[in-house]
Structures are given as C-alpha cells and as structure tokens.
C-alpha cells in the first residue's frame, strides 16, 4: 500500500504540467520528509507526524495551483465588470426577441397558435442559458490565457448624467411588457386552444362574437399600454402626463370589460351551457368577482402612479 505521502505527492503533481513534475516531486518529497523528521525527533509517532504535516500543507490541488500560479477563480476582478456588463446587456433583449419571434413563427407559419406561448417561453429560456454559458466561457478563457482586451480606460465622461435613482427600473418595465404580451397572446390562445378535450369540441372561454369589435379593441389598448411602459422607462420616473395616459388606458381597458361582464356578454354562451354550475348562477358570481377585482386593480394602479409622480416631482 502506498504511503499517505505518496498519495499526497501524486495528487499534487497531477495538477502540475508534465515537464515540471519530476523535479517538483523530489523537492516536495524532501520537504515533507524534513518536516516529518523534525516532528518524530520531538517524540511524535511517524504516522501521526505524517498526517499532521500533510494537513498543514493543505489541499494538494490548492498547493499545485500555488506552484503553477493557476487561478482559482472562474472570472477574476480584471474581467468581472466587463463580463457582467456584457451579460446583462445581452440578456435584457436577445432572449425576449428570440422568444417573441419563435412564438410568432409558431403561431403563423407553424399554424399552431395554441403552442405559441409555450414555444416562445421555452426558446427564450434556452437562449438565455446559452448566452450565459458562452459569454462566461469566453471570459473564463480570456482569464486563463491572460489576453488583454485593450479596452479604453475609464474616464469621467462615462459618468451617467442622471444622479437621481431611477424610479422605473429596466426589470420592472421588461416584466410589465412581458405581462402585457402574455395578456395579448391569451386572447387568441383561449380561442384556438381546445378548452374541453372530452369530445374534441373547441369551446373558447370568451364569446367568439366579441372578435367583431371588442376583443380587437382590447388588444389595441394592451399594445398602447406597452408603448406607455416604454415611454415611462425613457422618462425614468412617473410624470403627470404619464399618470394621465395610464389612467386613460386603464379606463379604456376596464370600462368595456366591466360593461361586458355586467351585461353577461363576456363568457362564451356555449361554455355556460356546458357547465351546470355556470348555468345556475355561477356565471354571475364569476362576473361580480371579476368586476370587483378589475375595479380594485385599476383604482390601486392609478393611485399608485399619482403617488409616485408626486414623489418624483418633490
């Protein structure tokens, strides 16, 4: 059986380039023997002394890294900030674009509008993972090859003009836009996706008759809301015109919705026919809850925007 020292040497040398191994092995073995001898001379047993010495020298891979000046970090301080900036920049828009394009292609060319959202989300996520992996790999290679990027030195001119903190962050805006896209996509999805697969018949949740005017109108309002999100992000904070536009768009969406709900025109009549609990008053309950929720959301959103605009103006 090989001794602990042999095993320690083997583990250390494994991580050292071939041409330097032999000499390093001799030197390190001599050093370890010296250290053990010193301890056994002091009356310690050889086995215990060997253990103590090797423990003191520590993890062999770490020792080898010290010998060869190898970096024990994936991306060090030299590249970290550039890596982080590149990663953030790419992740803010590329996965979203790929996801939307995939979804649109799936819905139009592929002729499967029902599978569009899932396909879009999946490809967006895959793209994000791929970007993160390859960007990190590139920088890890740069770190190890010691390549200089020849980036321009930082100058005071790069300081952002804004000194106040943004009220509207990029993450918030992106999340809102994604939410709006999902809402827009939901309308055709619920129309084409078989709701009941029992007998294979397709039952949209919303009355298909509404496609003649109301549903396209709601989609227009949702798209306009996306425009508002972009305008809000560019402004960086709530302003009174933005509050007004937000209130108008909220009303433009909520008023038709509430009216359709209260006049029992939103839900598909065929769907109501299908379910006993909807027929026997369930539909009215659903409508009442939806009206209350819509009203609360709208009121809260408008008040919230006004409070933020006041804070930003202060």
């Amino acid at each position: 059986m090989s001794s602990l020292t042999d095993r320690y040497l083997a583990a250390t040398l494994r991580a050292v380039p071939q041409q330097r191994r032999a000499e390093l092995a001799d030197e390190l073995r001599a050093s370890i023997e010296d250290m053990i001898e010193d301890r056994t001379a002091g009356g310690q047993g050889r086995g215990a002394a060997e253990r103590e010495v090797l423990t003191e020298l520590g993890n062999p891979e770490q020792l080898a890294a010290r010998y060869t000046d190898r970096r024990l970090q994936l991306i060090g301080p030299r590249y970290f900030l550039v890596w982080w900036r590149v990663l953030r920049t790419l992740l803010t828009f590329i996965p979203a674009i790929v996801g939307v394009v995939t979804g649109v292609v799936k819905a139009t060319v592929g002729g499967e509008p029902g599978a569009a959202i899932g396909a879009g989300v999946a490809s967006g996520l895959q793209t994000a993972v791929q970007i993160a992996f390859w960007v990190t790999l590139c920088f890890a290679v740069l770190e190890r090859t010691n390549t200089s990027l020849n980036l321009p030195e930082w100058t005071v001119d790069q300081l952002p003009e804004e000194t106040r903190e943004r009220q509207i962050t990029l993450v918030d805006s992106c999340a809102s836009i994604v939410f709006l896209l999902v809402a827009v996509a939901f309308l055709p999805w619920q129309h084409f996706q078989p709701w009941l697969s029992g007998d294979g018949s397709r039952l949209p949740m919303i009355d298909p008759a509404l496609w003649s005017f109301w549903l396209p109108a709601l989609i227009v309002v949702l798209v306009a809301s996306m425009g508002l999100e972009i305008a809000k992000y560019r402004a960086g904070r709530w302003t009174w015109p933005l509050v007004a536009a937000n209130a108008v768009l909220n009303l433009a969406f909520a008023a038709p919705l509430v009216w359709l709900l209260l006049t029992d025109r939103l839900l598909n009549p065929a769907l109501i026919e299908r379910f006993a609990w909807l027929r026997e008053g369930g539909a009215e309950d659903v409508a009442q809850v939806a009206v209350v929720v819509t009203a609360v959301v709208v009121v809260w959103d408008v008040i919230d925007s006004a409070v933020k605009a006041r804070k930003a103006a202060a």
């Binding site: 030197e27 001599a30 050093s31 010296d34 003191e56 020792l63």
Partner: protein
C-alpha cells in the same frame, strides 16, 4: 474594539511582502525549504509551508534565487541562494522598507505636534 478577524487581515496584508524580503536576506546563506522556514520562524517571520515552498520556486523562475541539488546528506535537497539579480532587487526592497518606516515615523511625529 475591532474584531480579531479584521485585525488578522490587516496584519496579514502588512506582512505579505516582507516574506520575500526576509527570504532574500536569509538565502544569502544557501538553504533548503524547511530549514529556511524554521530560520524565518525563529527570527519572527512565521510563514506557512504551503506559501513558502511555492514562493521559493517563483523567485527562482524570476531569477532572484539560484538553486542547486545537494546530494551529500541523508537525502537529496534543493538548496536555494540569493542571486546577483536577487541581491539588486533586495537592495531596492530594503530601501523602500526603510523609506516606509521613516515616512511612518515622520507622520507620527507630525501628527503628535
């Protein structure tokens, strides 16, 4: 009172470069790894074996130390010695150490006044 952890880090930072100076001085008289470690410790430079051994090889690669295998004793050992280049670098380092010491002294006196 600052924590021991904070104090330890600062002392470590302060000591870091002095191991090189101490090694270059001590190796004017050739020696092998473990013996140097003990000599340094005896003179108030406690240093970990896993720091010193790689450091010696790095200094050798930089040409500040030369080495020679001694096969006369019970086991072959690699003896290091400060080279001429090493002596030149050491001169600069010692000057700088003195300069730092003087600056600190002046600063202390200046503040005291």
């Amino acid at each position: 009172m600052v924590s021991d952890e904070v104090l330890r880090t600062h002392l470590q930072e302060l000591r870091r470069g002095t191991v090189v100076v101490a090694s270059l001085v001590a190796l004017r008289q050739p020696d092998y790894g473990y013996a140097l470690l003990q000599r340094l410790a005896a003179h108030g430079f406690p240093v970990d074996a896993n720091t010193l051994y790689p450091l010696l090889r790095r200094l050798e690669e930089q040409g500040l130390l030369t080495s020679e295998w001694n096969t006369e004793e019970s086991r072959p050992r690699k003896f290091y010695r400060t080279s001429d280049d090493g002596e030149a670098v050491l001169g600069r380092l010692l000057d700088d150490l003195t300069a730092v010491q003087m600056s600190v002294t002046q600063l202390i006196e200046g503040v005291g006044r």
